[in-house]
């Protein structure tokens, strides 16, 4: 027996969430299709469907991009429009894969896929090197907190399996990754089309002695999302549970640290102090509630606590702000300028907000902030925001939950921006 899609990895292995990013036509979907195919994660009927779709769309052979490009419009045009999620497992670990689109106009969908990723697989056409869109995606991944890059120097078959080409991609990526503050970078020369160094080691590039892409994925640090930040535990109140016998408890998902019964806490933005008398789930009381668990807690005082409030340790609480600077990825067509009104969803709170001013735009080529008065679609920049309800925030780099928000159009309810509290650390303000 060699093939069992979806089988369970050995116990003790962890979960890695990764997103594929990079420019259009550099081969992201083909690479994921190849990875799933060569690791036998595809069922027979799925493979047959991909083969018959390839024939129907006039593709020679089997187009492995169809494994994730499942929408009618995607197959017609041979592009990825929205992120596809796939699930895979090896004896080493489980994977949640977000295959992201490359087109500039679908940057919002790429950001969706990358926002929960531990690691980004940057797919680069080795014959052309990094494009502006590759830089934009890598930059957005860095802003979103991705600190581990796995670079697939793709289309090595077209590059004649040439070591110098690979090295040139590696040098470009290395320079960019350092500027963006990445923690690790691994560059693997691959051919997604032919499978070299994806799951199976290539025999055509004897000069390369590193891991395959799959092996690198199995070795990469996982769980960065859950372990992000050390600024103290946070519990945004989601739901107030009223108990039949009287009393209330507060439900929410823990981030940033661990809560324990007996902890001294503060409820923000009001600032009331209290103590946790219990931390529990449906299944009973807990001695401790680590990040990523959904729990309910009880406080020892009868306080006025409701949805949107934040429970934090008394010793390391969040900052309460009415006005703050944040980095935006702007998704909507009409540009954002000073004086525009929105709704903001921050943790479990919805509040009216206004742009006080647009401070700067990030040049994704030079990684410099340049002054501006508006951000256009798919641009990244820094704005000053005023909010109708005080918010308890942390810098995004300290806590991805209390440091993030989305902006919502008041008329259409469209999500028009992703926001991160603070300014990008890597961006230089040019000397004038």
């Amino acid at each position: 027996m060699t093939s069992t899609p979806g089988a369970e990895p050995a116990s003790g292995s962890s979960l890695l969430r990764f997103a594929t990013i990079g420019s259009v036509d550099d081969g992201k979907s083909t690479l994921i299709g190849r990875l799933l195919h060569d690791t036998k994660q595809l069922f027979d009927d799925q493979l047959e469907a991909v083969a018959s779709a390839s024939r129907r769309h006039g593709v020679e052979g089997v187009d492995l991009a169809f494994v994730t490009d499942g929408l009618r419009a995607e197959r017609e045009q041979g592009i990825t429009i929205d992120v596809a999620y796939r699930y895979a497992s090896t004896p080493r670990r489980k994977f949640v894969i977000a295959d992201c689109p490359g087109h500039v106009q679908y940057t919002r969908n790429m950001a969706t896929g990358a926002s929960t990723a531990d690691l980004a697989v940057v797919v680069v056409d080795a014959t052309t090197g990094l494009r502006e869109q590759t830089r934009r995606h890598t930059c957005i991944a860095a802003l979103l907190g991705v600190r581990h890059l796995l670079v697939a120097a793709n289309k090595m078959d077209l590059a004649g399996w040439d070591e110098a080409t690979y090295r040139s991609v590696g040098d470009e990526v290395d320079a960019l990754a350092r500027r963006l503050g990445m923690a690790t970078v691994t560059v693997v020369p691959v051919s997604a089309l032919l499978g070299d160094n994806v799951a199976v080691a290539s025999t055509r590039m004897p000069w390369y002695r590193g891991p395959t892409l799959l092996h690198a994925l199995e070795e990469a640090p996982a769980g960065a999302w859950a372990h992000e930040g050390d600024g103290g535990a946070r519990l945004p109140v989601q739901w107030v549970v009223r108990h039949p016998g009287g009393g209330r408890s507060y439900a929410g998902m823990v981030s940033g640290g661990t809560f324990r019964p007996g902890d001294d806490v503060v409820v923000l933005p009001g600032g009331q102090r209290s103590r946790l008398t219990s931390v529990e789930t449906f299944d009973g009381p807990l001695d401790e509630a680590p990040a990523s668990l959904s729990v309910t807690v009880r406080l020892d005082d009868e306080l006025d606590v409701s949805r949107g409030d934040l429970i934090a340790p008394a010793g390391s609480s969040a900052e309460v702000v009415r006005e703050f600077d944040a980095t935006l990825c702007w998704f909507a067509d009409p540009p954002v300028e000073a004086g525009r009104r929105f709704r903001i969803k921050h943790t479990t709170r919805l509040t009216p907000a206004q742009t006080v001013s647009v401070l700067s735009r990030l040049d994704v080529g030079s990684l410099e902030l340049e002054s501006t008065s508006a951000l256009g679609p798919n641009e990244i920049g820094v704005v000053r925001l005023a909010v109708g309800t005080p918010l308890a925030v942390d810098p995004y780099r300290a806590n991805r939950v209390t440091g993030s928000f989305v902006m919502i159009d008041e008329q259409t309810n469209a999500t028009v921006a992703a926001g991160m509290v603070g300014v990008p650390e890597f961006a230089a303000v040019p000397q004038r």
Binding site: G70, R209, M253, L293
Partner: protein
């Protein structure tokens, strides 16, 4: 061996590969040419001293699903939980208990009833709901047919696609602005593209080309009158995850999910249970086979699989070695065309 995925073995020279940790190096070469750079030596590891034991995979899936349910309940005016009697909706009911007990569910439970049910599924539905003490609504496809909302496909015709109309009518009649469902991204290539909170316009349509960005775990539930959301707390669960959770939580299921003997006919490469709606044609052979159902849907379009899996553990072992996907094995409705699921979802399907 059968529970292990087969991999091409890694060549020996990679076995001792370790990620390089060269803090502050401007460039590093390991071997002839191998670019791995650890720029920040502090950031390579994930463990912290005295870190609590990490929640396992199922704990994380459960915590996220509970989070989604609470967000929908808090943000939407009139949510409803869709219950089919299948395994995924049985898991949803347990997750709703985890999210809201000791309180009541902040939404009713609704079954869209095709009228072509397996008896075991209806029995299970009524027993499960009685045990929970929550409100059950039934939206009936037969009613839609009787009122002329949809054409009658005839006694043996599939009513699967008709459910969309019945569902949308029920959403309008009750004023629901969010439907919590058990669909998973691993079921189908169109579902693989869908958001956890998925927007529907006033016609109930999904527009896969213009989905709302959905970053982090910030699920925003605002819709205008007549629009609604579909919420999928099990988005990131696989078939195997669902079964492992059923095992861990001792969740009861309709007996047809486990091996049993019943008369079946083979039709369109599927084993259909003989019933008042599936009447064998003169040229079809009725066989008494040991089968189970991998999914539960309209009895005219849901195939059985040959199986000797009598327990949850047996089922887990069986699907771990299966070469055919869950829907590929059992659903006639996904075989109409390359994009049947996408097309049905555009019309308002689950």
């Amino acid at each position: 061996m059968t529970n292990q995925i087969g991999f091409y073995p890694f060549p020996d020279r990679f076995d001792r590969f370790q990620m390089a940790k060269i803090s502050g190096a401007t460039r590093n070469d390991i071997g002839a040419a191998h670019m791995t750079t650890t720029i920040d030596a502090q950031a390579g590891g994930t463990g912290r001293p005295n870190a609590p034991p990490s929640p396992d995979h199922l704990d994380l899936l459960e915590a996220h699903a509970v989070f989604v349910m609470r967000e929908v309940a808090a943000e939407c005016e009139r949510p409803v939980l869709l219950f089919s009697g299948g395994k995924d909706s049985a898991v949803l009911l347990r997750l709703a208990e985890k999210a809201f007990r000791p309180g009541r569910f902040p939404f009713p439970v609704m079954h869209v009833d095709t009228g072509h049910n397996f008896d075991e599924v209806l029995e299970f539905r009524d027993k499960a709901m009685a045990g929970l003490g929550e409100e059950l609504l039934v939206a009936s496809v037969q009613d839609s047919i009787d009122r002329g909302r949809v054409p009658d496909p005839g006694p043996g015709g599939s009513r699967n696609r008709l459910q969309s109309v019945t569902l949308l009518d029920a959403i309008a009649a009750h004023g629901f602005d969010a439907c919590i469902g058990g669909a998973r991204r691993d079921e189908d290539k169109a579902r693989a593209k869908e958001r956890v909170l998925s927007f529907r316009d006033v016609f109930g349509q999904w527009d896969p080309r213009h989905q709302r960005p959905e970053l982090w775990h910030l699920y925003h539930g605002r819709v205008r009158t007549g629009e609604h959301l579909r919420a999928f707390p099990l988005s990131d669960w696989t078939e195997l995850d669902v079964w492992q959770y059923i095992g861990r939580e001792h969740i009861a299921l309709p007996s047809i999910y486990f091996a049993h003997q019943r008369p079946v006919v083979e039709r369109d490469d599927m084993l259909l249970a003989v019933s008042e709606w599936v009447v064998p044609n003169p040229d079809e052979v009725v066989e008494d086979l040991t089968v189970r159902f991998r999914t539960v849907g309209d009895a005219t379009g849901t195939g059985a699989v040959r199986s000797h899996a009598h327990t949850v553990d047996d089922v887990i072992a069986e699907i771990a070695s299966s070469r055919v996907s869950e829907r590929g094995a059992t659903r006639a409705d996904d075989r109409f065309s390359e994009t049947s699921m996408e097309d049905r979802k555009r019309e308002g399907y689950f």
